[in-house]
Symmetry: C2
């Protein structure tokens, strides 16, 4: 799969690109089921909210077949290779839960701020790709993005280790207010299977989810191979140290697994 020139221009200008229902209902149903199984398992890669609800599960592509296929899926790998003009490796892989009623806030931040400070990633040549496993609505904790903020470089940030169970380099109110006055705030929403790509320097956040509707999203961070990280301060299953280029699987691989899983059940 390739992006059109207009999609690439849009991405470069706004810092994000939304691809509605890139994965079909069968593919997503399998991933959603597997995500719940992963949250239920008590592995160290599953981090929890202060309430005990799942917050994020790391590195499932290394031990779960459905997420392995997702992490090497040509509908994501090929467009990102196209944007960076080279092969990519998996820098981070997580399944964020934003559980019904208890899913907590992610404060305003840039992801590349963490990759640079904590992981020594040389340039913001890594892409976030969000795959919706549930419908993302305005009310169940959608991602909020500040368009065009990816052009501001790495903004100064404070290390918040208190607000939630996840340490994060967060931006102050004045910075967010100023950027939002310039670029506004958008909340891309859509059906399960939709995909949102956004730049590593794009300022974003997500509010708590107080609704009965869960909002699971898988986040792939695909990094240009020549831009691999140089500092190893975080667990290997948080910031991967295997810089091997990802070889895409066939486009129907996930679909075939979903059908065989259904037949076996």
């Amino acid at each position: 799969m390739k992006l059109t020139q207009q999609q690439i221009d849009n991405f470069n200008r706004e810092g994000w690109l939304f691809l509605p229902e890139l994965f079909n209902a069968e593919e997503v149903a399998l991933l959603a089921r597997e995500a719940i199984n992963i949250y239920d398992a008590n592995r160290p890669e599953v981090w929890r909210e202060k309430s005990g609800a799942p917050r994020t599960a790391f590195a499932a592509h290394l031990y779960n077949e459905a997420f392995r296929l997702l992490g090497a899926h040509p509908r994501m790998i090929e467009p990102i290779e196209q944007v960076f003009g080279e092969k990519v490796y998996m820098h981070q892989f997580k399944i964020n839960a934003k559980a019904a009623f208890t899913g907590d806030v992610w404060q305003w931040h840039q992801d590349y701020g963490t990759w640079k400070r904590d992981d020594g990633m040389p340039e913001p040549r890594a892409m976030n790709i969000a795959i919706f496993l549930d419908e993302v609505m305005p009310i169940n904790g959608p991602l909020l993005l500040i368009p065009k903020s990816h052009k501001r470089g790495v903004l100064s940030a404070g290390h918040d280790t208190l607000t939630t169970s996840y340490p994060l380099w967060t931006l102050d109110k004045e910075t967010v207010t100023r950027l939002a006055a310039e670029g506004g705030i958008v909340a891309p929403t859509g059906m399960p299977g939709s995909v949102l790509m956004f730049h590593g320097n794009l300022v974003h956040a997500s509010p708590p989810n107080i609704t009965p509707y869960p909002r699971k999203i898988v986040y792939l961070t695909l990094c240009a191979c020549s831009n691999h990280i140089t500092k190893f301060t975080r667990e290997e299953w948080i910031a991967h140290q295997d810089f091997t280029p990802i070889k895409p699987v066939p486009d129907d691989a996930l679909m075939r697994l979903a059908r065989s899983a259904r037949t076996a059940a």
Copy 2:
């Protein structure tokens, strides 16, 4: 001002009614300015979030001229008299801040649950009226309503005194999930000056506001005079004990005050 029969039928069926931009920009600008002055004053009627940001200011209609006129405004008093078929008095008056970045959650609840349990209000014959002082958007902590839930009577609730600075009788997850499966969830949004009426038994909540956009809303609770409260467990400025029927002011009273304030400034 009178509601149409269709509006009344809608309200009876759904439990809420939205009236876009019932107040004009001049009227709302005055109210928004006065609200900020009230939050800045350190009166005991102003309650704060755990962060110190204002959460709600009670009873401003008793000491502020603009809010006195709002609390007796015919665009609200006449429709509610029409619904209840009798005169109304002010049971509660508050200005909820939902401040930018720090405005905290209001958990799922029914207001009449509190009026009955804490104040001994005989029947759910009191109406909530929300007047938007800022634009209410999907992302800045809008009110979430469960349509048709007002037909379920008073649901069992627990007294939450820990989550926020405001004690509240809140519903459990199972109840909210069941009601939302039946009625869905709506988040009425709109420009400043818009008005939202909702039934005292309508289940509602509002999420935290993590955006740079404040979301001030005035809430009037107008109670049928014959249905006045019978228990006096809360401060007089929280649950009023003056059951005198409200005499509406002229329709242009607030507008005239806004213009004279502007001239004087």
